[in-house]
Amino acid sequence: MSKRSHRYGLIGLTLVVALAPLGFRNAYFYDVATNAMIQAVVCVGLNLLIGYAGQISLGHAGFFALGAYGSAILTSRYGLPSLAALAVSAAAVGGLAFLIGRPILKLAGHTLAMATLGIGIIIHIVLKTESWLTGGPDGMAVDTFTVFGLAVDGDRAWYWVCGGLLVIAVWLSCNLVNSPVGRALRAVHGSEVAAQVAGIDTAGTKVLVFVVSAVFASLAGGVFAHKSGMVTPDIGGFFHSIELVTMVVLGGMASAFGAVAGAVILTLLPQFLAGFEDYEAVVLGAVMMGTMIFLPKGLLPSLKAQVKRRMGA
Protein backbone atom coordinates (compact mmCIF):
# COMPACT_ATOMS: atom_id res chain seq x y z
CA MET A 1 0.00 0.00 0.00
CA SER A 2 1.33 3.41 -0.88
CA LYS A 3 1.92 6.09 1.67
CA ARG A 4 -0.92 8.08 0.18
CA SER A 5 -3.48 5.34 0.67
CA HIS A 6 -2.15 4.85 4.18
CA ARG A 7 -2.81 8.50 4.92
CA TYR A 8 -6.37 8.32 3.55
CA GLY A 9 -6.92 5.11 5.47
CA LEU A 10 -5.78 6.64 8.73
CA ILE A 11 -7.98 9.68 8.23
CA GLY A 12 -10.88 7.42 7.37
CA LEU A 13 -10.28 5.26 10.42
CA THR A 14 -10.09 8.29 12.71
CA LEU A 15 -13.34 9.60 11.29
CA VAL A 16 -15.07 6.27 11.76
CA VAL A 17 -13.87 6.00 15.35
CA ALA A 18 -14.87 9.60 16.08
CA LEU A 19 -18.28 9.48 14.44
CA ALA A 20 -19.44 5.92 15.14
CA PRO A 21 -20.80 6.76 18.62
CA LEU A 22 -23.44 8.91 16.94
CA GLY A 23 -25.11 5.64 16.05
CA PHE A 24 -24.76 4.07 19.50
CA ARG A 25 -28.02 3.65 21.32
CA ASN A 26 -26.77 2.58 24.71
CA ALA A 27 -23.72 1.67 26.77
CA TYR A 28 -23.68 -1.84 25.33
CA PHE A 29 -22.78 -0.50 21.89
CA TYR A 30 -19.78 1.26 23.38
CA ASP A 31 -18.76 -1.95 25.10
CA VAL A 32 -18.88 -4.08 21.95
CA ALA A 33 -17.11 -1.43 19.90
CA THR A 34 -14.37 -1.17 22.51
CA ASN A 35 -13.87 -4.92 22.49
CA ALA A 36 -13.63 -4.85 18.72
CA MET A 37 -10.98 -2.14 18.87
CA ILE A 38 -8.94 -4.01 21.45
CA GLN A 39 -8.99 -7.13 19.30
CA ALA A 40 -8.09 -4.93 16.34
CA VAL A 41 -4.93 -3.71 18.07
CA VAL A 42 -3.81 -7.32 18.56
CA CYS A 43 -4.65 -8.06 14.94
CA VAL A 44 -2.67 -5.10 13.62
CA GLY A 45 0.38 -6.51 15.39
CA LEU A 46 -0.38 -10.07 14.33
CA ASN A 47 -0.83 -8.91 10.75
CA LEU A 48 2.75 -7.64 10.75
CA LEU A 49 3.80 -11.21 11.54
CA ILE A 50 1.42 -13.14 9.31
CA GLY A 51 0.54 -10.76 6.48
CA TYR A 52 3.78 -8.89 5.98
CA ALA A 53 6.47 -11.24 7.27
CA GLY A 54 4.71 -14.37 6.08
CA GLN A 55 5.04 -16.25 9.36
CA ILE A 56 2.24 -17.74 11.45
CA SER A 57 1.25 -17.90 15.08
CA LEU A 58 -1.53 -20.05 16.49
CA GLY A 59 -0.76 -19.03 20.05
CA HIS A 60 -0.98 -15.25 20.12
CA ALA A 61 -3.86 -15.22 22.56
CA GLY A 62 -1.25 -16.46 25.01
CA PHE A 63 0.64 -13.17 24.78
CA PHE A 64 -2.63 -11.27 25.09
CA ALA A 65 -3.49 -13.19 28.24
CA LEU A 66 -0.03 -12.72 29.71
CA GLY A 67 -0.37 -8.98 29.22
CA ALA A 68 -3.83 -9.03 30.77
CA TYR A 69 -2.79 -11.12 33.75
CA GLY A 70 0.41 -9.11 34.10
CA SER A 71 -1.57 -5.92 34.49
CA ALA A 72 -4.07 -7.64 36.75
CA ILE A 73 -1.52 -9.17 39.08
CA LEU A 74 0.88 -6.22 39.23
CA THR A 75 -1.82 -3.68 39.97
CA SER A 76 -4.23 -5.65 42.10
CA ARG A 77 -1.79 -7.84 44.02
CA TYR A 78 1.34 -5.73 44.13
CA GLY A 79 -0.04 -2.24 43.90
CA LEU A 80 1.97 -1.06 40.93
CA PRO A 81 0.65 1.99 39.08
CA SER A 82 -1.38 1.02 36.02
CA LEU A 83 0.94 2.45 33.37
CA ALA A 84 3.98 0.88 34.98
CA ALA A 85 2.22 -2.47 35.11
CA LEU A 86 1.41 -2.21 31.40
CA ALA A 87 5.00 -1.40 30.58
CA VAL A 88 6.51 -4.09 32.78
CA SER A 89 4.16 -6.75 31.38
CA ALA A 90 4.87 -5.68 27.83
CA ALA A 91 8.60 -5.86 28.47
CA ALA A 92 8.28 -9.29 30.07
CA VAL A 93 6.13 -10.61 27.23
CA GLY A 94 8.55 -9.14 24.71
CA GLY A 95 11.41 -10.87 26.48
CA LEU A 96 9.56 -14.18 26.48
CA ALA A 97 8.76 -13.79 22.78
CA PHE A 98 12.44 -13.12 22.14
CA LEU A 99 13.57 -16.22 24.01
CA ILE A 100 11.05 -18.52 22.37
CA GLY A 101 11.20 -16.77 19.02
CA ARG A 102 14.86 -17.44 18.32
CA PRO A 103 14.58 -21.24 18.21
CA ILE A 104 11.09 -21.67 16.78
CA LEU A 105 11.28 -19.13 13.96
CA LYS A 106 13.88 -21.34 12.34
CA LEU A 107 10.86 -23.50 11.52
CA ALA A 108 8.34 -22.68 8.84
CA GLY A 109 4.82 -23.48 7.76
CA HIS A 110 3.15 -26.30 9.63
CA THR A 111 5.92 -26.85 12.12
CA LEU A 112 6.02 -23.18 13.10
CA ALA A 113 2.24 -23.23 13.42
CA MET A 114 2.38 -26.19 15.79
CA ALA A 115 5.18 -24.74 17.86
CA THR A 116 3.29 -21.48 18.40
CA LEU A 117 0.19 -23.54 19.13
CA GLY A 118 2.10 -25.40 21.80
CA ILE A 119 3.29 -22.18 23.40
CA GLY A 120 -0.21 -20.75 23.51
CA ILE A 121 -1.66 -23.86 25.09
CA ILE A 122 1.10 -24.15 27.67
CA ILE A 123 0.53 -20.52 28.69
CA HIS A 124 -3.20 -21.22 28.96
CA ILE A 125 -2.64 -24.27 31.14
CA VAL A 126 -0.25 -22.40 33.43
CA LEU A 127 -2.78 -19.58 33.86
CA LYS A 128 -5.48 -22.12 34.71
CA THR A 129 -3.32 -24.05 37.15
CA GLU A 130 -1.32 -21.58 39.20
CA SER A 131 -4.36 -20.34 41.09
CA TRP A 132 -2.30 -18.90 43.95
CA LEU A 133 -1.17 -16.26 41.45
CA THR A 134 -3.84 -16.14 38.82
CA GLY A 135 -7.01 -17.12 40.59
CA GLY A 136 -7.23 -20.36 38.62
CA PRO A 137 -10.03 -21.19 36.18
CA ASP A 138 -12.31 -18.58 37.71
CA GLY A 139 -9.83 -15.82 37.05
CA MET A 140 -9.31 -12.72 39.12
CA ALA A 141 -10.60 -9.18 39.47
CA VAL A 142 -8.62 -6.21 38.17
CA ASP A 143 -8.33 -2.76 39.72
CA THR A 144 -9.46 0.30 37.83
CA PHE A 145 -6.99 1.93 35.52
CA THR A 146 -5.61 5.09 37.02
CA VAL A 147 -3.27 7.58 35.41
CA PHE A 148 -1.94 10.47 37.50
CA GLY A 149 -4.81 10.07 39.94
CA LEU A 150 -7.47 10.06 37.23
CA ALA A 151 -9.49 6.89 36.89
CA VAL A 152 -10.46 5.62 33.46
CA ASP A 153 -13.80 4.04 34.07
CA GLY A 154 -17.03 3.54 32.23
CA ASP A 155 -17.90 2.48 28.72
CA ARG A 156 -17.57 5.87 27.10
CA ALA A 157 -14.16 6.63 28.59
CA TRP A 158 -12.81 3.27 27.50
CA TYR A 159 -14.20 3.70 24.02
CA TRP A 160 -12.22 6.87 23.45
CA VAL A 161 -9.06 5.50 25.05
CA CYS A 162 -9.16 2.36 22.92
CA GLY A 163 -10.09 4.33 19.83
CA GLY A 164 -7.03 6.46 20.31
CA LEU A 165 -4.86 3.40 20.91
CA LEU A 166 -6.16 1.78 17.75
CA VAL A 167 -5.41 4.80 15.60
CA ILE A 168 -1.90 4.97 17.07
CA ALA A 169 -1.37 1.25 16.49
CA VAL A 170 -2.41 1.52 12.84
CA TRP A 171 -0.27 4.63 12.38
CA LEU A 172 2.77 2.78 13.76
CA SER A 173 2.08 -0.20 11.53
CA CYS A 174 1.82 2.03 8.45
CA ASN A 175 5.07 3.76 9.39
CA LEU A 176 6.83 0.46 9.78
CA VAL A 177 5.64 -1.11 6.56
CA ASN A 178 7.07 1.61 4.32
CA SER A 179 10.36 1.92 6.18
CA PRO A 180 13.68 0.09 5.80
CA VAL A 181 12.64 -2.31 8.58
CA GLY A 182 9.27 -2.90 6.95
CA ARG A 183 10.77 -3.56 3.57
CA ALA A 184 13.24 -5.98 5.14
CA LEU A 185 10.31 -7.78 6.75
CA ARG A 186 8.42 -8.08 3.49
CA ALA A 187 11.56 -9.14 1.68
CA VAL A 188 11.93 -12.07 4.09
CA HIS A 189 8.45 -13.14 3.05
CA GLY A 190 9.13 -12.53 -0.66
CA SER A 191 12.35 -14.54 -0.86
CA GLU A 192 14.37 -15.36 2.19
CA VAL A 193 17.45 -16.18 0.12
CA ALA A 194 17.39 -12.92 -1.80
CA ALA A 195 16.84 -11.02 1.44
CA GLN A 196 19.93 -12.59 2.97
CA VAL A 197 21.98 -11.82 -0.08
CA ALA A 198 20.84 -8.20 0.17
CA GLY A 199 22.35 -8.08 3.64
CA ILE A 200 19.22 -8.60 5.74
CA ASP A 201 19.58 -10.61 8.93
CA THR A 202 16.53 -12.73 8.18
CA ALA A 203 16.55 -14.69 11.42
CA GLY A 204 16.80 -11.48 13.45
CA THR A 205 14.06 -9.80 11.43
CA LYS A 206 11.66 -12.66 12.05
CA VAL A 207 12.34 -12.54 15.77
CA LEU A 208 11.89 -8.76 15.76
CA VAL A 209 8.46 -8.88 14.17
CA PHE A 210 7.46 -11.76 16.47
CA VAL A 211 8.44 -9.71 19.51
CA VAL A 212 6.69 -6.59 18.20
CA SER A 213 3.46 -8.48 17.55
CA ALA A 214 3.69 -10.05 21.01
CA VAL A 215 4.10 -6.61 22.60
CA PHE A 216 1.07 -5.27 20.70
CA ALA A 217 -0.91 -8.23 22.04
CA SER A 218 0.37 -7.73 25.57
CA LEU A 219 -0.54 -4.02 25.66
CA ALA A 220 -3.98 -4.77 24.27
CA GLY A 221 -4.37 -7.47 26.89
CA GLY A 222 -3.49 -5.10 29.70
CA VAL A 223 -5.99 -2.54 28.48
CA PHE A 224 -8.60 -5.29 28.20
CA ALA A 225 -7.96 -6.38 31.78
CA HIS A 226 -8.61 -2.92 33.20
CA LYS A 227 -11.57 -2.30 30.97
CA SER A 228 -13.27 -5.58 31.87
CA GLY A 229 -12.35 -5.41 35.52
CA MET A 230 -11.81 -9.14 35.33
CA VAL A 231 -9.53 -11.71 33.66
CA THR A 232 -10.09 -15.41 33.05
CA PRO A 233 -7.71 -17.97 31.54
CA ASP A 234 -9.85 -18.48 28.45
CA ILE A 235 -8.71 -15.19 26.99
CA GLY A 236 -5.46 -17.03 26.36
CA GLY A 237 -7.04 -20.18 24.99
CA PHE A 238 -6.64 -21.91 21.65
CA PHE A 239 -10.04 -20.70 20.45
CA HIS A 240 -9.10 -17.06 20.95
CA SER A 241 -5.79 -17.60 19.15
CA ILE A 242 -7.68 -19.04 16.20
CA GLU A 243 -10.16 -16.16 16.24
CA LEU A 244 -7.28 -13.70 16.03
CA VAL A 245 -5.73 -15.45 13.04
CA THR A 246 -9.13 -15.63 11.35
CA MET A 247 -9.64 -11.90 11.88
CA VAL A 248 -6.32 -11.12 10.22
CA VAL A 249 -6.91 -13.49 7.36
CA LEU A 250 -10.54 -12.53 6.83
CA GLY A 251 -9.91 -8.82 6.63
CA GLY A 252 -6.96 -9.18 4.34
CA MET A 253 -3.37 -9.93 5.07
CA ALA A 254 -0.66 -7.36 4.47
CA SER A 255 -3.09 -4.62 5.38
CA ALA A 256 -3.46 -3.04 8.81
CA PHE A 257 -6.90 -1.77 7.77
CA GLY A 258 -7.83 -5.27 6.71
CA ALA A 259 -6.85 -6.54 10.13
CA VAL A 260 -9.08 -3.90 11.74
CA ALA A 261 -11.95 -4.81 9.43
CA GLY A 262 -11.57 -8.48 10.25
CA ALA A 263 -11.53 -7.79 13.96
CA VAL A 264 -14.65 -5.67 13.75
CA ILE A 265 -16.53 -8.20 11.65
CA LEU A 266 -15.72 -11.18 13.84
CA THR A 267 -16.45 -9.27 17.05
CA LEU A 268 -19.80 -8.13 15.71
CA LEU A 269 -20.74 -11.53 14.29
CA PRO A 270 -21.86 -13.08 17.62
CA GLN A 271 -24.01 -9.99 18.15
CA PHE A 272 -25.96 -10.79 15.02
CA LEU A 273 -26.19 -14.37 16.14
CA ALA A 274 -27.79 -13.35 19.45
CA GLY A 275 -30.16 -16.16 20.28
CA PHE A 276 -28.18 -18.42 18.03
CA GLU A 277 -25.12 -18.83 20.24
CA ASP A 278 -25.18 -22.54 19.53
CA TYR A 279 -24.46 -21.76 15.92
CA GLU A 280 -21.42 -19.63 16.70
CA ALA A 281 -18.90 -22.42 16.18
CA VAL A 282 -20.54 -23.59 12.97
CA VAL A 283 -20.60 -20.08 11.57
CA LEU A 284 -17.03 -19.32 12.59
CA GLY A 285 -15.80 -22.57 11.09
CA ALA A 286 -17.73 -21.93 7.89
CA VAL A 287 -16.38 -18.38 7.69
CA MET A 288 -12.82 -19.63 8.09
CA MET A 289 -13.15 -22.28 5.43
CA GLY A 290 -15.15 -20.09 3.08
CA THR A 291 -12.71 -17.19 3.25
CA MET A 292 -9.65 -19.27 2.52
CA ILE A 293 -11.33 -21.15 -0.30
CA PHE A 294 -13.15 -18.30 -2.05
CA LEU A 295 -11.35 -15.16 -0.90
CA PRO A 296 -7.83 -16.31 -0.13
CA LYS A 297 -6.53 -12.77 -0.13
CA GLY A 298 -9.10 -11.68 2.43
CA LEU A 299 -12.00 -9.26 2.23
CA LEU A 300 -10.33 -5.87 1.75
CA PRO A 301 -7.88 -6.80 -1.01
CA SER A 302 -10.61 -8.75 -2.81
CA LEU A 303 -12.96 -5.78 -2.56
CA LYS A 304 -10.19 -3.49 -3.79
CA ALA A 305 -9.62 -5.76 -6.77
CA GLN A 306 -13.35 -5.80 -7.55
CA VAL A 307 -13.51 -2.02 -7.39
CA LYS A 308 -10.47 -1.75 -9.63
CA ARG A 309 -12.05 -4.05 -12.16
CA ARG A 310 -15.36 -2.16 -12.15
CA MET A 311 -13.56 1.13 -12.71
CA GLY A 312 -11.81 -0.44 -15.68
CA ALA A 313 -8.42 0.37 -14.19
Binding site: I50, I56, L58, P103, I104, L107, A108, G109, H110, T111, A113, M114, A115, L117, G118, I119, I121, I122, I125, V126, K128, T129, V193, F238, I242, V245, T246, V249, D278, Y279, E280, A281, V282, V283, L284, G285, A286, V287, M288, M289, T291, M292, I293, P296
Partner: protein, 291 residues
Protein backbone atom coordinates in the same frame (compact mmCIF):
# COMPACT_ATOMS: atom_id res chain seq x y z
CA UNK B 1 5.52 -48.57 44.24
CA UNK B 2 6.18 -50.84 41.30
CA UNK B 3 2.50 -51.67 41.19
CA UNK B 4 1.68 -47.97 41.01
CA UNK B 5 4.12 -47.39 38.17
CA UNK B 6 2.62 -50.36 36.38
CA UNK B 7 -0.79 -48.77 36.86
CA UNK B 8 0.43 -45.59 35.22
CA UNK B 9 2.01 -47.63 32.46
CA UNK B 10 -1.29 -49.36 31.68
CA UNK B 11 -3.16 -46.05 31.65
CA UNK B 12 -0.44 -44.51 29.51
CA UNK B 13 -0.42 -47.34 26.99
CA UNK B 14 -4.19 -47.18 26.70
CA UNK B 15 -4.35 -43.48 25.91
CA UNK B 16 -1.11 -43.88 23.97
CA UNK B 17 -2.81 -46.34 21.65
CA UNK B 18 -5.44 -43.72 20.78
CA UNK B 19 -2.74 -41.11 20.20
CA UNK B 20 -0.94 -43.63 18.02
CA UNK B 21 -4.03 -44.15 15.88
CA UNK B 22 -4.52 -40.39 15.61
CA UNK B 23 -0.83 -39.94 14.82
CA UNK B 24 -1.11 -42.53 12.07
CA UNK B 25 -4.07 -40.62 10.68
CA UNK B 26 -1.97 -37.43 10.59
CA UNK B 27 0.87 -39.33 8.94
CA UNK B 28 -1.30 -40.80 6.21
CA UNK B 29 -2.83 -37.47 5.24
CA UNK B 30 0.49 -35.67 5.53
CA UNK B 31 2.14 -38.21 3.28
CA UNK B 32 -0.61 -37.99 0.72
CA UNK B 33 -0.79 -34.20 0.58
CA UNK B 34 1.63 -32.38 2.86
CA UNK B 35 -1.40 -31.15 4.82
CA UNK B 36 -1.66 -31.27 8.60
CA UNK B 37 -5.28 -32.13 9.20
CA UNK B 38 -6.32 -30.28 12.33
CA UNK B 39 -9.71 -31.95 12.15
CA UNK B 40 -8.18 -35.35 12.94
CA UNK B 41 -9.29 -35.09 16.56
CA UNK B 42 -12.87 -34.50 15.49
CA UNK B 43 -12.84 -37.88 13.72
CA UNK B 44 -12.11 -39.48 17.08
CA UNK B 45 -14.87 -37.46 18.74
CA UNK B 46 -17.46 -38.20 16.08
CA UNK B 47 -16.71 -41.92 16.20
CA UNK B 48 -17.19 -42.05 19.94
CA UNK B 49 -20.24 -39.79 20.06
CA UNK B 50 -22.01 -41.55 17.22
CA UNK B 51 -21.43 -44.96 18.79
CA UNK B 52 -22.61 -43.72 22.19
CA UNK B 53 -25.81 -42.12 20.95
CA UNK B 54 -26.64 -45.02 18.65
CA UNK B 55 -26.30 -47.61 21.42
CA UNK B 56 -28.28 -45.36 23.77
CA UNK B 57 -31.11 -45.40 21.24
CA UNK B 58 -31.17 -49.18 21.24
CA UNK B 59 -28.84 -50.27 18.46
CA UNK B 60 -26.69 -53.28 19.37
CA UNK B 61 -23.11 -52.28 20.15
CA UNK B 62 -21.27 -54.00 17.28
CA UNK B 63 -23.63 -52.50 14.71
CA UNK B 64 -23.45 -49.07 16.34
CA UNK B 65 -19.66 -49.22 16.25
CA UNK B 66 -19.70 -50.14 12.56
CA UNK B 67 -22.15 -47.42 11.66
CA UNK B 68 -20.21 -44.87 13.69
CA UNK B 69 -16.94 -45.71 11.95
CA UNK B 70 -18.52 -45.79 8.50
CA UNK B 71 -20.25 -42.48 9.18
CA UNK B 72 -17.03 -40.86 10.26
CA UNK B 73 -15.33 -42.09 7.12
CA UNK B 74 -18.02 -40.37 5.09
CA UNK B 75 -17.40 -37.17 7.06
CA UNK B 76 -13.69 -37.46 6.34
CA UNK B 77 -14.26 -37.89 2.64
CA UNK B 78 -16.73 -34.99 2.54
CA UNK B 79 -14.13 -32.82 4.28
CA UNK B 80 -11.57 -33.71 1.64
CA UNK B 81 -13.90 -33.11 -1.27
CA UNK B 82 -15.46 -29.87 -0.02
CA UNK B 83 -12.69 -28.13 1.87
CA UNK B 84 -9.30 -29.56 0.97
CA UNK B 85 -9.57 -30.18 -2.74
CA UNK B 86 -10.74 -26.67 -3.66
CA UNK B 87 -7.68 -25.33 -1.89
CA UNK B 88 -5.14 -27.64 -3.54
CA UNK B 89 -2.85 -24.84 -4.65
CA UNK B 90 -3.15 -22.57 -1.66
CA UNK B 91 -0.23 -21.75 0.54
CA UNK B 92 0.41 -23.42 3.86
CA UNK B 93 -1.20 -20.76 6.05
CA UNK B 94 -4.43 -20.96 4.07
CA UNK B 95 -4.63 -24.73 4.31
CA UNK B 96 -3.91 -24.66 8.05
CA UNK B 97 -6.79 -22.23 8.53
CA UNK B 98 -9.09 -24.35 6.41
CA UNK B 99 -8.49 -27.49 8.46
CA UNK B 100 -8.80 -25.56 11.71
CA UNK B 101 -12.02 -24.04 10.39
CA UNK B 102 -13.19 -27.52 9.47
CA UNK B 103 -12.50 -28.80 12.97
CA UNK B 104 -14.42 -25.90 14.53
CA UNK B 105 -17.25 -26.43 12.04
CA UNK B 106 -17.49 -30.15 12.75
CA UNK B 107 -17.40 -29.55 16.48
CA UNK B 108 -20.16 -26.96 16.11
CA UNK B 109 -22.30 -29.40 14.13
CA UNK B 110 -21.66 -32.14 16.67
CA UNK B 111 -22.73 -29.84 19.47
CA UNK B 112 -25.91 -28.93 17.63
CA UNK B 113 -26.66 -32.60 17.08
CA UNK B 114 -25.58 -34.08 20.39
CA UNK B 115 -25.31 -31.22 22.88
CA UNK B 116 -22.42 -30.52 25.20
CA UNK B 117 -22.93 -33.23 27.79
CA UNK B 118 -21.09 -36.46 28.39
CA UNK B 119 -22.45 -39.66 26.90
CA UNK B 120 -21.62 -43.16 27.99
CA UNK B 121 -20.81 -46.18 25.93
CA UNK B 122 -21.00 -49.49 27.74
CA UNK B 123 -17.70 -51.32 28.10
CA UNK B 124 -17.38 -54.14 25.56
CA UNK B 125 -16.80 -56.92 28.04
CA UNK B 126 -17.80 -55.58 31.37
CA UNK B 127 -16.17 -53.39 33.96
CA UNK B 128 -14.57 -55.90 36.30
CA UNK B 129 -10.92 -54.93 36.55
CA UNK B 130 -8.27 -57.60 36.05
CA UNK B 131 -5.47 -57.92 38.52
CA UNK B 132 -2.14 -57.93 36.72
CA UNK B 133 1.09 -58.00 38.75
CA UNK B 134 -0.46 -55.96 41.54
CA UNK B 135 -1.99 -53.32 39.29
CA UNK B 136 -5.53 -53.34 38.06
CA UNK B 137 -6.29 -53.28 34.35
CA UNK B 138 -9.67 -52.46 32.90
CA UNK B 139 -10.81 -55.01 30.33
CA UNK B 140 -11.63 -52.11 28.05
CA UNK B 141 -7.94 -51.20 28.03
CA UNK B 142 -7.22 -54.60 26.58
CA UNK B 143 -9.85 -53.91 23.94
CA UNK B 144 -8.16 -50.60 23.15
CA UNK B 145 -4.75 -52.18 22.79
CA UNK B 146 -6.05 -55.20 20.95
CA UNK B 147 -8.21 -53.33 18.47
CA UNK B 148 -5.47 -50.77 17.84
CA UNK B 149 -3.00 -53.52 17.15
CA UNK B 150 -5.42 -55.26 14.81
CA UNK B 151 -6.09 -52.05 12.93
CA UNK B 152 -2.38 -51.34 12.60
CA UNK B 153 -1.72 -54.82 11.26
CA UNK B 154 -4.55 -54.42 8.75
CA UNK B 155 -3.12 -51.08 7.75
CA UNK B 156 0.32 -52.59 7.22
CA UNK B 157 -1.21 -55.33 5.09
CA UNK B 158 -3.13 -52.71 3.11
CA UNK B 159 -0.10 -50.56 2.34
CA UNK B 160 2.26 -53.40 1.59
CA UNK B 161 0.14 -56.10 0.08
CA UNK B 162 -2.66 -54.44 -1.85
CA UNK B 163 -2.32 -52.61 -5.12
CA UNK B 164 -4.14 -49.49 -4.02
CA UNK B 165 -2.20 -49.33 -0.81
CA UNK B 166 1.05 -49.49 -2.68
CA UNK B 167 -0.25 -46.84 -5.03
CA UNK B 168 -0.83 -44.60 -2.03
CA UNK B 169 2.70 -45.16 -0.80
CA UNK B 170 4.05 -44.41 -4.24
CA UNK B 171 2.13 -41.14 -4.36
CA UNK B 172 3.51 -40.09 -1.02
CA UNK B 173 7.06 -40.64 -2.22
CA UNK B 174 6.70 -38.89 -5.54
CA UNK B 175 3.35 -37.56 -6.60
CA UNK B 176 4.31 -36.61 -10.13
CA UNK B 177 5.86 -39.96 -10.90
CA UNK B 178 2.82 -41.73 -9.47
CA UNK B 179 0.47 -39.67 -11.59
CA UNK B 180 2.57 -40.38 -14.63
CA UNK B 181 2.09 -44.11 -14.16
CA UNK B 182 -1.63 -43.64 -13.94
CA UNK B 183 -2.29 -43.38 -10.22
CA UNK B 184 -5.08 -40.89 -9.61
CA UNK B 185 -3.71 -38.54 -6.98
CA UNK B 186 -7.17 -37.21 -6.22
CA UNK B 187 -8.44 -40.67 -5.37
CA UNK B 188 -5.39 -41.31 -3.25
CA UNK B 189 -6.06 -38.16 -1.26
CA UNK B 190 -9.71 -39.11 -0.79
CA UNK B 191 -8.66 -42.54 0.41
CA UNK B 192 -6.14 -40.99 2.77
CA UNK B 193 -8.85 -38.95 4.45
CA UNK B 194 -11.15 -41.95 4.59
CA UNK B 195 -8.42 -44.05 6.23
CA UNK B 196 -7.53 -41.36 8.73
CA UNK B 197 -11.19 -40.94 9.62
CA UNK B 198 -11.42 -44.70 10.10
CA UNK B 199 -8.40 -44.73 12.39
CA UNK B 200 -9.76 -41.83 14.40
CA UNK B 201 -13.26 -43.24 14.67
CA UNK B 202 -12.07 -46.70 15.73
CA UNK B 203 -10.00 -45.07 18.44
CA UNK B 204 -12.95 -42.97 19.50
CA UNK B 205 -15.32 -45.92 19.73
CA UNK B 206 -12.94 -48.11 21.63
CA UNK B 207 -11.89 -45.48 24.18
CA UNK B 208 -15.35 -43.98 24.77
CA UNK B 209 -16.28 -46.46 27.55
CA UNK B 210 -13.22 -45.29 29.49
CA UNK B 211 -13.23 -41.55 28.93
CA UNK B 212 -16.93 -40.91 28.19
CA UNK B 213 -17.81 -39.35 24.89
CA UNK B 214 -18.00 -35.58 24.74
CA UNK B 215 -18.04 -33.12 21.85
CA UNK B 216 -15.15 -31.11 23.30
CA UNK B 217 -12.84 -34.13 23.44
CA UNK B 218 -11.65 -33.87 19.86
CA UNK B 219 -9.29 -30.90 20.14
CA UNK B 220 -6.98 -32.28 22.78
CA UNK B 221 -6.97 -35.79 21.36
CA UNK B 222 -6.14 -34.46 17.93
CA UNK B 223 -3.35 -32.23 19.20
CA UNK B 224 -1.84 -35.05 21.24
CA UNK B 225 -2.06 -37.28 18.19
CA UNK B 226 -0.13 -34.59 16.39
CA UNK B 227 2.46 -34.61 19.16
CA UNK B 228 2.80 -38.33 18.57
CA UNK B 229 3.29 -37.85 14.84
CA UNK B 230 5.85 -35.10 15.29
CA UNK B 231 7.75 -37.02 17.95
CA UNK B 232 8.00 -40.08 15.75
CA UNK B 233 8.85 -38.09 12.66
CA UNK B 234 6.10 -36.51 10.61
CA UNK B 235 5.01 -38.88 7.89
CA UNK B 236 6.57 -41.95 9.46
CA UNK B 237 3.90 -44.50 10.35
CA UNK B 238 6.02 -46.58 12.68
CA UNK B 239 7.22 -43.37 14.30
CA UNK B 240 3.62 -42.26 14.90
CA UNK B 241 2.91 -45.49 16.79
CA UNK B 242 6.03 -45.26 18.91
CA UNK B 243 5.40 -41.55 19.40
CA UNK B 244 1.81 -42.12 20.46
CA UNK B 245 2.71 -44.71 23.07
CA UNK B 246 5.56 -42.53 24.30
CA UNK B 247 3.33 -39.48 24.69
CA UNK B 248 0.67 -41.53 26.46
CA UNK B 249 3.08 -43.11 28.91
CA UNK B 250 4.93 -39.83 29.53
CA UNK B 251 1.62 -38.13 30.28
CA UNK B 252 0.46 -40.83 32.65
CA UNK B 253 3.77 -40.96 34.51
CA UNK B 254 3.97 -37.19 34.82
CA UNK B 255 0.37 -36.93 35.98
CA UNK B 256 0.86 -39.68 38.51
CA UNK B 257 4.23 -38.71 39.92
CA UNK B 258 4.47 -34.94 39.41
CA UNK B 259 1.27 -32.99 38.92
CA UNK B 260 -1.99 -34.03 37.40
CA UNK B 261 -2.88 -30.42 36.55
CA UNK B 262 -0.08 -30.26 34.00
CA UNK B 263 -0.98 -33.57 32.40
CA UNK B 264 -2.27 -31.91 29.26
CA UNK B 265 0.82 -29.74 29.01
CA UNK B 266 3.12 -32.74 28.59
CA UNK B 267 2.16 -33.37 25.01
CA UNK B 268 2.78 -29.75 24.08
CA UNK B 269 6.07 -29.58 25.88
CA UNK B 270 7.04 -32.61 23.85
CA UNK B 271 5.94 -30.87 20.63
CA UNK B 272 8.01 -27.81 21.45
CA UNK B 273 11.05 -29.77 22.53
CA UNK B 274 11.01 -31.93 19.42
CA UNK B 275 10.44 -29.02 17.04
CA UNK B 276 13.21 -27.00 18.63
CA UNK B 277 15.85 -29.63 19.11
CA UNK B 278 15.10 -32.32 16.55
CA UNK B 279 12.41 -31.18 14.12
CA UNK B 280 12.61 -34.36 12.09
CA UNK B 281 11.51 -36.44 15.08
CA UNK B 282 12.97 -39.75 16.22
CA UNK B 283 12.73 -41.64 12.97
CA UNK B 284 12.55 -38.83 10.44
CA UNK B 285 15.26 -37.74 8.07
CA UNK B 286 16.61 -34.19 7.90
CA UNK B 287 15.40 -32.24 4.88
CA UNK B 288 17.86 -30.53 2.57
CA UNK B 289 16.67 -27.57 0.54
CA UNK B 290 17.96 -26.95 -2.93
CA UNK B 291 18.43 -23.36 -3.94
Amino acid sequence: MAAQLLQFLFAGLTSGAIYALAGLGFAIIYNASGVINFAQGEFIMIGGMAAATLTASGMPLPLAALVAVAGTMLVGMALEKLAIEPARDSDTVSVIIITIGASIFLRGLAQLAWGKGFHTLPAFSGEVPLAVLGASLMPQSLWVLGVSLAVIVLLWWFFNRTLFGKAMLATSHNRLAAELVGIAAKRVLLAAFALSALLGAVGGVVVAPITFANTEAGIMLGLKGFAAAVLGGLGNGFGAIVGGLAVGVAEALAAGTLSSAYKDAIAFIIILAVLIFRPQGIFGRKKVDRV
